[in-house]
């Protein structure tokens, strides 16, 4: 092929401009010299010989330019020509172009929008120089594989014994109250190992990083260091550089500002921004501090792998260290270690649903492509004459295919441009329904990656839907098409129809897959929202509140008791209480528990949730009391320790007995000092609540009265008879009147928590249903198109049949059967795929099996009936064909 030989020349002329230029100059110079030689030989003086030579050539530069012209690359010219031709064709068929571009825009727009979310949440690399070596080191309970957080003594042993990390750092987030120039503000902060910032390889823009020895509490009289985020520094310290070295008060304790991080720096990366960092020293105060307890698992651990160390090797070594620790400390629950890339741990549970959605929207795009391909094919028949003329005039088949592909690529890019606008609009909507706790949502937006993706899929789509029609069309037989041209161009053979039918069948198949998926999710979502959470979430305001700075633990219950009393007295309030951890948030505090009469070493005791509650909690939140009594004012620090348990705990540990009057020993012994916590008497049994997911099980739970189990921060609840948001300001005022240094934070209604807990399934369900709807609509358009086409194509045949006595109803049935056949084949194929793919959804389903027979029957039936409707419209047209007109049509 000639084109391949030309390529090196063209490439030369594009990329090696200097070389080509020099060659040209040399070549012309050689000619000029020869001319001069000749003129001199004829007897001219040299100067005149030279002048005559140049004159004969007629200007060296013009000559060179003409030579360059000859080398100019033709591909670009052809392309421009084809694009302009394509645009002209679209202008002549505005209806066709509009339908094609809009369909494409829908597909490309939806795909781009979903990609943008996947990209921001899952794909975009972390903004640290060491990003690809960062991993989470998770400490799991060996028996159950659950957990994920580590204790500080374990962490120290890991750090000392491993050979696979350049360093590991522990961290946790924490709530801080800064008493600044203005009112007290609540800040989200992180308590980290001093080494953390160096693992991330990010340095403060002002001041210094933490020094290794700052992991331990400062000596008496010294203060612990704190590093501020640039945003906090600007907002609260007016960007004053002299802030370095200044003492500030956080949670009533003195800290020294040692640095300011660069703007935008975040670690840990989460939805609520971290505004300050301090060292683990804050947890190391006191004799029985958190950092000394091997059983206190409360830290996340970040590791920086040594260069060249792969995760499996690191994992193997860390598991070894963990099992050695299990042997050395048999009193603790045996644990193991799992290492996960940091990026993966960040996107965590959202990865799977997002990829399912991306797959689903990809299916929609495929259907769109099939639809546009069908549109092009339908138009192709009327363009056969044009193609034949082109071929007759000497256009090669390759050239024709190129031209047709250029047309479809132009169409694809136009669709992509509109689709991009659509995607941006869709993203506005998406950001609002994506669960708020999803990290990195702020990265969603128009950027190079998004543009690149939209451009790429526009091209891919253009090729996908353009290829089949291009080859079909370029295969035109000259004489046939030219002579048949008079029949109005609708003349293509059966092969043509087979391609169109195949396209429609695949559309229907893809639509079935999406419809089944959406059906499963909708059914599961309906089940989920009907789950009883175990309490009444309506009309309850909640907010978090720290205890006053520097107050001893023994004072905490009194403070919260006062706050709750003021809340209950607010106009519009019915009752108020306080709790350490709210249901549905997954923030449950786990503790070992010992059952009376079953003495067990700590390491093998069962686990239950531990919660501390203020009086009236069960009444306020609406948890029913099943047996025994509620806590009373008499259950205080001086009286015998008591607990109320939930029914799950009663069922599990006291299966055939009355738990009232029995004793349990929760591992958490707030208020009773170090050492083994006391046995507590069970005085009541309450209903179960969902501590985590609405779809999850209720775990055994122990409630202790706040007075016997001081806890901070607490979540205050106020049940109202009015809209709970209406009492936020009065509540703020009431708290300020008690302690103006305690800001209210995480102010949310229980309904909001409830909505948030189902926001992820709601997102998947909403989007997948939307995609399925779109898919069904497009597939039906496809069926409609093919049947209408057949009707037009067979008009003559129908006319003959009717002239020979066929009834209109027979013709109608004949056409409907065609449509049904197409849809049924597609549905059968689609069902097979759906059966294979449904298990991908199983983790997202609640109370519905991935092979739910109801869905697998109703979804195809629904599709079949819409397909029937789609073929009925053109079929009716066929039945109305006037035999005389159809026959005369020839």
């Amino acid at each position: 092929m000639r084109i391949f030989k030309k390529i090196p020349l063209r490439i030369q002329s594009i990329f090696r401009k200097d070389r080509v230029e020099q060659d040209l100059t040399d070549e012309i110079r050689f000619h000029v010299d020869k001319l001069i030689e000749q003129n001199v030989a004829r007897g001219m003086p040299p100067a005149q010989a030279r002048y005559a030579a140049l004159q004969e050539l007629g200007g060296l530069e013009q000559l060179k330019e003409e030579c360059r012209d000859m080398r100019r690359v033709k591909v670009i010219e052809n392309l421009v020509q084809d694009v302009r031709y394509g645009l002209r064709v679209f202008r002549k068929n505005p209806g066709f172009a509009a339908v094609a571009i809009l369909t494409l825009a829908l597909g490309i727009g939806a795909t781009t929008a979903i990609f943008s979310v996947v990209d921001a949440v899952v794909l975009k690399p972390l903004p640290f120089p060491t990003a690809d070596r960062l991993v989470r080191v998770r400490s799991l309970i060996l028996k159950t594989g659950t957990g994920g957080i580590a204790s500080y003594p374990d962490f120290l042993d890991w750090r000392a014994q491993n050979h696979v990390f350049d360093g590991i750092a522990a961290f946790r987030t924490g709530d801080f109250t800064l008493v600044g120039a203005s009112d007290a503000v609540h800040l989200q902060g992180a308590v980290v190992s001093a080494q953390l910032l160096s693992l991330l390889d990010v340095k403060p823009v002002l001041g210094r990083s933490f020094a290794p020895e700052e992991d331990s509490p400062a000596a008496a009289g010294g203060t612990d260091p704190v590093i501020l985020s640039q945003e906090l520094w600007q907002r609260e310290f007016s960007s004053d550089p002299s802030v370095i070295g200044r003492k500030i008060e956080l949670n009533g304790l003195p800290f020294t500002v040692v640095g300011v991080m660069p703007g935008g720096f975040q670690y840990p990366i989460q939805a609520e921004p971290i505004e300050l960092w301090t060292t683990i020293a804050v947890d190391a105060r006191g004799a029985d501090s958190m950092t000394t307890q091997r059983g206190a698992h409360y830290l996340d651990v970040l590791g920086l792998l040594k260069p060249g160390v792969a995760i499996p090797r690191a994992q193997a070594e860390m598991v070894g260290i963990a099992s050695a620790l299990n042997k050395a400390h048999p009193e603790n629950r045996p644990r193991t270690v799992r290492i996960v890339p940091e990026l993966e741990s960040l996107s965590g549970p959202l990865r799977a649903p997002l990829f399912v959605l991306l797959g689903a929207v990809g299916c929609v795009l495929l259907i769109v492509c099939a639809n546009v391909a069908n549109l092009l094919l339908a138009r192709a028949s009327s363009r056969q004459k044009e193609m034949a003329v082109r071929a007759a005039l000497g256009s090669s088949r390759l050239r024709t295919v190129c031209q047709l592909l250029t047309e479809s690529l132009t169409l694809g890019l136009l669709g992509g441009a509109v689709g991009l606008a659509l995607a941006l609009a869709l993203l506005q909507l998406l950001v609002r329904i994506i669960p708020a706790e999803v990290p990195r949502l702020n990265l969603i937006g128009l950027d190079v990656r998004l543009l690149g993706f939209a451009f790429l899929i526009s091209l891919v789509a253009g090729i996908l839907f353009g290829l089949v029609p291009a080859f079909q069309l370029s295969k035109v037989s000259l004489t046939g098409a030219l002579s048949e041209g008079c029949r109005g161009g609708v003349s293509s053979g059966r092969g043509h129809n087979r391609v169109r039918s195949a396209l429609v069948v695949s559309e229907v198949a893809l639509a079935v897959v999406l419809l089944v998926g959406a059906g499963l999710l909708v059914k599961s979502f309906l089940r989920l929202t009907r789950v009883d959470p175990g309490f009444d979430p309506h009309n309850v305001l909640t907010f978090q509140l720290d205890s006053p700075a520097g107050q001893p633990d023994t004072q905490l219950p009194a403070f919260y008791h006062q706050v709750v009393a003021r809340m209950a007295a607010l106009p519009g309030a019915i009752s108020a209480s306080a709790v350490a951890s709210l249901p549905l948030t997954g923030n449950n505090i786990q503790s070992s528990i010992e059952i009376e009469g079953q003495p067990t070493p700590i390491g093998s005791r069962p686990i239950a949730d531990f919660n501390a509650v203020e009086l009236n909690y069960f009444h306020t939140i609406g948890i029913p009391l099943a047996a025994g009594r509620d806590f009373t004012e008499q259950d205080d620090a001086k009286s015998p320790p008591v607990v109320i348990v939930n029914q799950a705990l009663a069922r599990r540990f006291f299966p055939n007995e009355n738990p009232i009057g029995k004793h349990v020993r929760p591992g958490i012994g707030n208020g009773y000092g170090p050492g083994e916590s006391p046995m507590r008497e069970i005085v009541g049994v309450v209903g179960d609540v969902k501590q985590g997911d609405l779809g999850g099980e209720s775990s055994p739970e122990v409630y202790a009265p706040l007075a016997q189990s001081p806890f901070s921060p607490m979540i205050i609840l106020v049940r109202t008879r009015i809209d709970p948001r209406g009492i936020v300001e009065p509540a703020r005022g009431a708290v300020a009147s008690l302690d103006r240094h305690q800001p209210l934070y995480h102010v949310l209604t229980l309904d909001q928590y409830f909505a948030e807990s189902v926001s992820e399934p709601r997102l998947s369900t909403l989007l997948l249903s939307g995609f399925a709807g779109l898919a069904v609509l497009l597939a039906c358009l496809g069926v409609y198109g093919v049947i209408s086409y057949i009707v037009i194509q067979r008009r003559h045949e129908i006319g003959v049949r009717m002239a020979l006595g066929a009834e209109a109803s027979e013709v109608l049935r004949w056409m409907l059967v065609r449509g049904l056949a197409l849809a049924s084949v597609g549905i059968a194929i689609g069902l097979a795929f759906a059966l294979g793919l449904a298990h991908l959804l199983s983790s997202a389903l609640y109370g519905v099996r991935p092979t739910d027979p109801v869905i697998f029957v109703t979804a195809p039936m629904a599709l079949l009936s819409v397909a029937l409707l789609a073929s009925y419209i053109p079929a009716r047209r066929a039945a109305r064909v006037d035999p005389m007109v159809a026959l005369r049509y020839e």
Binding site: K5, I28, F30, L35, L57, R68
Partner: protein, 110 residues
Amino acid sequence: MSKPTDLVQGTLDLLILKTVALEPAHGWAIAQRIRQVSKDVLQVNQGSLYPALHRLEQSGWIKAKWGESDNNRRAKYYALTPAGRRYLDQEQANWQRLSAAIGLVLEIAD
């Protein structure tokens, strides 16, 4: 001697191809040879020779190589490619048919 005839549009390509078909030659030599062979009747316009050579190279009919000229100077030699050979045969046949046809017409006119 009459004034050298201007080349008929499109025939320059044919003449160049025919000339380099015998042996590879540089631009100067091609111009000289056409003049000599046509006994000074056909004079190649120096200004259109090089664009024509570049166009033919671009089309793949001829390919260029740098070589030494008779007096040891670097010169660009053009040679016919197989594709060029086919094209030449085709064009030569066309030309002969055309000139024969023109001849016929002119005879009738006499």
